[in-house]
């Protein structure tokens, strides 16, 4: 099973933090509200990661192998 990673499209991201709300295990927030992705997405959280990608209001998140 290939590892999936969450990648941020940085010029689009405006630090709304919805990704952190939906997937706090993988996405933390830095001092200014921007996402810090901690490691690859565990298999059990893949669906939650897809939800986070879908709900980013700035379409700034992608799940890539």
């Amino acid at each position: 099973m290939t590892e999936l990673r969450l990648r941020v499209d940085w010029p689009l991201c405006s630090g709304r933090g919805v990704c952190h709300e939906l997937l706090p295990e993988v996405v933390e927030l830095d001092d200014w509200g921007y996402p810090v992705v901690r490691g690859p997405v565990p298999e059990a959280l893949t669906d939650a990661a897809r939800v986070a990608v879908r709900w980013c209001p700035r379409l700034a998140l992608r799940l890539v192998p």
């Binding site: 990648r7 940085w10 010029p11 689009l12 630090g15 830095d30 001092d31 200014w32 810090v36």
Partner: protein
């Protein structure tokens, strides 16, 4: 030779024609008529000499070329002359002294790979480069489809994706890359974007052949590279050096009296290195990696003896924070915060804990490597200037800077945003 505020020394290969002038006639007289090659020949030659990019990342050119050739669409060639690193002047020198070598390389390879377009990214703030390249293009008969673009006068404008954005008619700033430029760059085409010096090296390789190229340098790293030697109060010097030569020989200024203990190698996105250790090290990508340094854009910056590296680093970080494109949160907010933290260290009011924390926080987050380059500088300070950093944490400075009000960073060359 002094030209456009630079001192350009005659060199063994790239800079051999310094005294002949930049004209096409003299160039052809020296190197012969333009040779054509096939894509396979170019690839073989690049692999035979282990040609690495001269833009700062030292990426093997053959791998990039191979990726481009694997694409299904007709590729695009881009010559990056924008030289965003402020201390660097090697591309500037090449444009003034050997523009046709750069163009031979770019147009020769473009012809070999069947490129659909050839683009030239020129620096906004170095008009001498523009003039020289326009004159060189006008002299040639094979430069019909070369399109020129003027990059904005800021550091990040020279970044690979920023250049591709410029060519595509959008703002000259980096965007997040989902696929490498060699796979999908200008309008989705496989894009062979390289630094001007890389193209000049290819020009040399195509015109002179692999055997002649291998006459200089070492077996594992053949050829030469361009260095920009800078010291305050002196015009910048561009010098060509063969690989393998000890730094102390290649850059005698390193061992001249009146120099600080630490030098900055690679420019503002480079690393602080002990002057003495560097002088003993051979000019080699691998050897430098072993001592935790990198050639980067080929800048050797020699601060004067009385300058405090902590203070100087704080000034540089302040400048780099000002050069942020302001698009990506971690850079837009993180670099000024890092600047403030290192400023407090320089002022003797805090230790390096916050500096280290913020450095780790901004690394690898952003559309380009501007934060990463800045962090590289900061981490090299913490590693190489341990004593000075410790002193500052305790509110002391052996260079006597404390008690002197901090300088508000070099005025950034940032265009109005």
């Amino acid at each position: 030779m002094i030209t456009d505020g630079l001192l350009v020394e005659t060199g063994p290969a790239l800079l051999a024609t310094v005294d002949d002038g930049p004209g096409l006639v003299a160039h052809r007289r020296r190197l012969g008529p333009r040779r054509t090659a096939s894509a396979a020949e170019v690839l073989a030659a690049a692999e035979a000499v282990g040609l690495r990019g001269r833009g700062g990342a030292a990426f093997p050119f053959a791998i990039k070329l191979r990726t481009v050739l694997e694409g299904s669409r007709r590729p695009v060639v881009v010559v990056n002359l924008s030289e965003g690193e402020p201390l660097s002047a090697k591309d500037h020198a090449l444009a003034l002294v050997a523009p046709h070598l750069v163009l031979d390389g770019a147009l020769g390879v473009a012809h070999a790979i069947g490129a659909a377009q050839v683009h030239l990214a020129l620096p906004g703030e170095r008009p001498g480069v523009r003039r020289s390249m326009f004159a060189a293009l006008a002299e040639r008969h094979d430069a019909g489809k070369v399109r020129c673009h003027i990059a904005s006068p800021r550091f990040v404008a020279g970044q690979e994706r920023a250049v591709i954005e410029l060519i595509a008619g959008r703002e000259n700033l980096p965007v997040t890359t989902w696929r490498p430029a060699a796979t999908s760059g200008v309008r989705g085409r496989p894009t062979l974007l390289s630094n001007a010096e890389t193209w000049a090296q290819l020009g040399l390789l195509l015109q002179g052949g692999v055997e002649a190229y291998r006459q200089l340098g070492t077996d594992s790293e053949p050829g030469t590279t361009l260095l920009t030697v800078t010291a305050s109060g002196q015009p910048r010097l561009v010098r060509e050096t063969a690989y393998g030569v000890p730094f102390g020989t290649a850059v005698p200024e390193l061992v001249a009296p009146g120099r600080a203990g630490l030098v900055l190698l690679g420019g503002f996105h480079g690393t602080w290195v002990s002057r003495k250790r560097l002088a003993r090290t051979a000019l080699s990508v691998d050897r430098l990696r072993q001592i935790g340094a990198a050639l980067g854009a080929g800048v050797v910056h020699l601060p004067p003896a009385g300058q405090c590296p902590v203070r100087r680093s704080a000034e540089i970080v302040a400048l780099l924070a000002g050069e942020s494109a302001g698009r990506c949160g971690p850079c837009r907010f993180g670099l000024p915060a890092l600047g403030a933290a290192i400023g407090r260290l320089a002022a003797g009011t805090a230790d390096a804990t916050e500096v280290a924390r913020l450095a780790a926080l901004v690394t690898g987050r952003g559309a380009c490597a501007h934060p990463d380059g800045t962090v590289r500088l900061v981490r090299s300070l913490l590693g190489e200037a341990e004593e000075e950093v410790r002193d500052h944490a305790l509110g002391r400075c052996s260079y006597g800077t404390l008690g002197v009000p901090p300088v508000r960073g070099l005025a950034g060359r940032r265009a109005a945003s």
